[in-house]
């Protein structure tokens, strides 16, 4: 005789429960996969009203960018020399050079603007924003509060002219068009002359014309630790960094020191930038 088991309801045992549960889950997954896309934003929710990040445009580096960058650097030097002039940091004889330099830089900018237009680009006749914040502003601040503003103004002018000379020469190796390379180097030669003139006038009588790259006895710095500028620092034209020390001695016994550099990706004036 069979005795019915009260704990087992017919048709709803554990096995049945598992089977039906699995079927339900599988059917749910199948229906979800086949469900229509009703649209709507699937991005995670945002808290607050701060705007989302803005991606920078993709910058293409080409000859026009090189030219725009050099045009901006010419204006950066104009801004520096003009500010130093306005503060009266140069002597009268030095000022005659500086006035000529400023005029030459403005003329160089016009020449570069012509090259840019010929290449189908848009001129950038204003200073380089990166150079302004990283070099020009700190150097001016230090020079204005210096124990010898004339010394620092001369050093700054020499360093920036040298930076221009190095930059032009550097970009000759990067530019694609021979005509643009030639245009760059014509202006680079002028910058080299200005750099050499300032060095000869500032330190030629004490340290001579030939730097450590030619004369092994030539010191890199003077007795006070300031870099010595030479009319001929080395046999070949250089493209390296230019050391600059300006300003008064601070509480830690140091002066403001920086290294000017030739243009790179962070200094380039891309086609999407405008004055």
């Amino acid at each position: 005789m069979n005795t019915p088991n009260p704990s087992q309801t017919p048709g709803f045992d554990r096995r049945t429960l598992l089977r039906r549960g699995g079927l339900t889950l599988g059917l749910g997954a199948f229906l979800s996969a086949c469900a229509a896309d009703f649209g709507g934003d699937t991005a995670p929710g945002r808290v607050g009203l701060v705007e989302s990040e803005t991606m920078l445009p993709e910058g293409v580096v080409n000859d026009v960018v090189y030219l725009r960058t050099m045009q901006s650097l010419e204006h950066s030097v104009v801004e520096l020399l003009t500010a130093l002039t306005a503060s009266g940091h140069f002597t009268a004889p030095q000022q005659s050079y500086i006035d000529r330099f400023i005029a030459d830089h403005v003329a160089a900018s016009d020449v570069i603007g012509g090259h840019i237009a010929e290449a189908g680009g848009e001129p950038f006749a204003c200073e380089n924003p990166w150079v302004r914040s990283r070099y020009v502003d700190p150097v001016l601040t230090a020079t204005h509060s210096s124990d010898d503003s004339n010394r620092d103004a001369r050093s700054a002018a020499h360093a920036f002219e040298t930076m221009l000379a190095h930059s032009y020469q550097h970009l000759v190796g990067l530019a694609a068009s021979p005509a643009i390379r030639q245009g760059l180097m014509a202006l680079g030669a002028s910058a080299s002359r200005r750099s050499a003139l300032l060095a000869a006038q500032s330190s030629g009588s004490e340290f001579g014309y030939f730097g450590p790259g030619i004369n092994a006895d030539a010191p890199e710095t003077d007795s006070a630790g300031f870099p010595v500028g030479y009319a001929l620092p080395a046999v070949f034209g250089q493209v390296g960094q230019i050391a600059l020390v300006v300003g008064a001695v601070d509480d830690e016994g140091a002066r403001y020191a920086t290294s000017l550099q030739t243009p790179a990706e962070n200094t380039f004036v891309y086609d999407y930038m405008s004055c």
């Binding site: 000759v172 021979p178 180097m185 002359r193 034209g237």
Partner: protein, 200 residues
């Protein structure tokens, strides 16, 4: 010699009688070898010769000219050095131009052994004369102008970069020589290069 027969419209392309010479396997191999050799010879003697450094023949010609000019300046400074024995300035200038010629040799593979005789003859006496510093200034100005001119003709960017570094240095030489001449305050002499390039 096989004749080329016109293909008449509407007629079959294939001919019942083929007069063209048949190529045996040996003939084909021989012709391929001959063609390859000819192509190689054309590459070597053709107008677009390429050096080991990857420079075109046109660039090599320009670099050869620049190198000859540098060797000429070296020898002209040696003439001045023969007058002002032991002069540190003339020694440094001579050595610099030797370095420039060697740099071009390193770049191009061209031996630095041939100066520009015409330029040397033109300036030799002046470099031994009383105005040798002014002559040197004029020479450096002409050399810088020449190199800047060459940069616009060179197709290779690496070659242009080397020539640019030489032009930069020679521009600085001009300022030093102007200062030596007592014209360091003459902004026309120090800042402006009014020289014409020396023609290749």
């Amino acid at each position: 010699m096989a004749q080329v027969r016109p293909h008449r419209k509407g007629s079959p392309v294939t001919s019942t009688r083929d007069d063209s010479p048949q190529l045996t396997e040996t003939d084909l191999r021989r012709k391929l070898l001959a063609g390859g050799t000819a192509a190689l010879a054309l590459t070597m003697v053709g107008n677009r010769r390429v050096s080991a450094a990857g420079l075109s023949s046109a660039d090599l010609d320009l670099l050869k000219f620049a190198q000859g000019l540098e060797l000429t300046l070296r020898d002209l400074y040696d003439e001045a050095l023969d007058v002002d024995k032991g002069s540190a300035a003339w020694t440094a200038m001579s050595d610099s131009h030797e370095s420039f010629a060697q740099a071009i040799a390193g770049l191009s593979g061209l031996s630095a052994n041939e100066r520009n005789e015409a330029v040397f003859a033109e300036y030799r006496d002046a470099m031994r004369g009383a105005d040798r510093a002014k002559t040197a200034y004029d020479l450096e100005s002409a050399a810088a102008a020449t190199h800047i001119d060459l940069i616009g003709k060179l197709s290779d960017s690496g070659a242009a970069e080397v020539i640019a570094s030489i032009a930069s240095a020679e521009s600085r030489h001009c300022v030093v020589l102007a200062d030596v001449l007592g014209s360091g305050n003459d902004l026309g002499m120090t800042l402006v290069n009014s020289a014409q390039p020396i023609e290749a």
